[in-house]
């Protein structure tokens, strides 16, 4: 099939950037979207033009490296699908497809479709962990965890940190990302001691980094390739509220 790609081209963080149209005449149905970009890049390179920069790694939908807006939708039109698992059979011959980076103040564009997501690492560093020194763990089966609890925790833990929820949110809020981590750990008994501090610290970091607040649009859940439920945001709000009421934010300590 023939497609016209309108791709965002931006040389660097300070460049203004613009859309450039690229006709691709021989798109095969069983190509992934990224493989189509590979083919385009091979041609651009041979023509002496600059290939389109985009992130990708596992190409199996689990590493979270890839992701951009495809005609206005994060990761493209298929539900529960990352860009690397989006296949060209879902597009129509003659279609124009607009490709641009995820946009949010806290996730600046580095080049073309590549964005800087280090803010997400910073949120995790603020509290997205259980402090358990290597070697200090008790016998694993000494602590029982009901299967529904473990399953629910796993539902939240499935987040791949791609940033689609933030790109889809009109407020560019990182609430779903943060809520997924807070819920994953807060649901488990081993995550209880730090539960409220975790919520306080991670939300404070999120605000500090320039992410917006949540106003319940629900776009994040719709865009999430892993189907992380917006219910987890309610759980984050609860932990944050009880943390605000009953605890003071404390600095992280090594002991």
């Amino acid at each position: 099939m023939k497609l016209t790609l309108r791709i965002w081209r931006q040389d660097g963080p300070r460049d203004k950037g613009k859309f450039v149209a690229y006709p691709v005449d021989d798109v095969a149905e069983d190509m992934s979207f990224l493989e189509m970009l590979d083919v385009l890049n091979e041609r651009l390179t041979l023509k002496g033009e600059r290939p389109v920069a985009f992130d990708s790694d596992c190409r199996e939908g689990i590493c979270g490296a890839c992701g951009f807006m495809v005609s206005g939708v994060a990761h493209g039109p298929q539900k529960l699908t990352t860009a690397c698992q989006l296949f060209m059979r879902h597009f129509k011959d003659g279609e124009t497809v607009v490709v641009e980076p995820f946009r949010a103040r806290a996730l600046p564009v580095l080049k073309d479709l590549i964005i800087d997501r280090s803010a997400l690492d910073a949120i995790v560093q603020a509290g997205g962990f259980i402090s358990a020194r290597t070697g200090s763990a008790p016998e694993a089966n000494a602590m029982l965890i009901a299967k529904p609890v473990a399953d629910r925790s796993m539902d939240a833990a499935a987040c791949i940190g791609c940033g689609a929820c933030i790109a889809a949110c009109p407020n560019a809020s990182a609430m779903l990302f943060t809520a997924a981590k807070v819920s994953h750990l807060g649901l488990l008994p081993q995550g209880q001691p730090e539960r409220r501090q975790r919520a306080l610290r991670m939300v404070a970091k999120m605000n500090e980094l320039g992410f917006g607040g949540c106003s319940n649009h629900g776009e994040c859940e719709a865009a999430c390739p892993k189907g992380i439920s917006i219910d987890f945001i309610a759980r984050l709000n609860r932990d944050y509220l009880s943390g605000s009421l009953f605890e003071k934010p404390e600095p992280l300590s090594s002991v």
């Binding site: 069983d30 493989e35 590493c63 080049k111 962990f129 694993a140 089966n141």
Partner: protein
Amino acid sequence: MQLNSKVPSGPIQGKWEKHRFDMKLVNPANKRRYKVIIVGTGLAGASAGASLAQMGYEVDCFCFQDSARRAHSIAAQGGINAAKNYQNDGDSVYRLFYDTVKGGDFRAREANVYRLAEISASIIDQCVALGVPFAREYSGYLANRSFGGTQVSRTFYARGQTGQQLLLGAYSALSREVALGRAKVNTRSEMVDLVVQGGRARGIIVRDLVTGELTAHSADAVVLATGGYSNVFYLSTNAKGCNATAIWRAHRKGALFANPCFTQIHPTCIPVAGEHQSKLTLMSESLRNDGRIWVPKKKGDTRPAAQIPEAERDYYLERKYPAFGNLVPRDVASRNAKEVCDGGRGVGPGGLGVYLDFAEAIGRLGENVIRERYGNLFEMYDRITAEDPYRQPMRIYPAIHYAMGGLWVDYNLMSNLEGLHVVGEANFSDHGANRLGASALMQGLADGYFVLPYTIGDTLARVSPADRLKPDHPAFTEALDEAKERGRRLLGINGKRTVDSFHRELGKLLWDNCGMARSKESLTEALARIPQIREEFWANVKVPGGASELNQSLEQAGRVADFMELAELLCRDALTREESCGGHFRVEHQTEEGEAQRDDANFSHAAAWEFTGADTAPILHKEPLEFEYVHPAQRSYK
């Protein structure tokens, strides 16, 4: 050069305990003076980074991805083995040790494997403490499944995303250390060279992948946790970014490379769809528990599967191996798939595929049961191929999946270069010639959480932080100049072919000549071709853009240039190893039944190669392997 494995004396059950006592300790007050560089943030790198930082060392981590959480460990599906014996089915440290040595076809170091089995139980404890949501039974206890043809249930799992959850656990522990200021993680940073001075690893040269800036980093020890080299084959199940540059650069600087020819092929991957294929996707091996593998009996039969009557199908694994049937080990299943496809009976585009059919299982158990067991895998298959495996058989074909070979290390996981440690898939490791399912995650975390934190102390206690080189020492400035020059050279060729086209050509040559079946003839041919491809690469590659910017073509060019040299060593090792064992199958060495035939009299050793120059023959050093506990026997699956 004398290879000293430093395996402690005494009975195998007490070696690690004894060794931990014999090793030197670093005074707690002095630990913060020592600096350790860790390259790679997968299971091995992240767990080592977190543990060393907790102990008080200054830790500096580097990864080429945009976040430590994206390392390729994240893609592991199946699970992690541990000798917990929770199922009361007779598992034990000794049994896990035995299975691993035997599964590795008697080409691993016994003492290392025993230690791995010994540590395995603590790994599960640690991961649970960090919040890894392993699968549970309704009782609340941890669940297990059997995996990879073992007779006990010792595999722990988190849905089909075990690697992801284990990595996020280690990543979160490392993140905490970053917050406490004890560790640093440098993302989008690629190690482009190792700095060696006075026989010791002194630091690394790093390229900032955003600005292109090259910088020197000095430390008291360097740890490489950079994963395997399967992408030398171009198409593999590894992530696109996986590369061998860190270990190859270390090899060029003197670190020995052991058993490069031990590469693992996974039998159940989704076949290649066309020329545009950029990587291969694995379908979990568990599918073989219920799927039946077949091809048409007739050559060139292009009828759809449903129109081929039962009598005209060849369930070749069930026919040839009545006892194990579709559950034969990975290498046997892979070779047989190749054989039927080479014989013109393959299915799907290009004839490179065999059917994995669930019709019988669906009939027997009902679609619901199959959906419950494999629903996510069926969905993934459907998404990629647009074929519904509930209605028509899957098509599968083998693909390169894991590298057992890697940099040679002693019992302390230190290479022959003082101060250079290698952990996880990057070392030549504990899997011998073949890795068992669910053992890679175990080894990565064993190395990072529980082996390296002790053994590196022994290395550090022998040096003084005062002797650490300044980053402006000539050893560093020379390496910086070399790295700059290499980038300039790649950018200056301005030829007519893309980096990818060379990588594909090299990969195809390796897959055809040094893949599932290898022969003297195919290897000799590959060894003649590779230098020609390499020469053309350096004369005709086109790398657009500049050195001082985000330039993915330049990144890839550097990696492919290193693959070109590694490919040659891989073939040379395969040619030299005149036997078949595990993932290394030489057609000249097979039993009458077509099974791998080892030659224990001549090849019971690790082959550790020393670099002498890109165009000169490497020197082979042998570390003899002795088997005191598990006695070598011929595998049989009839």
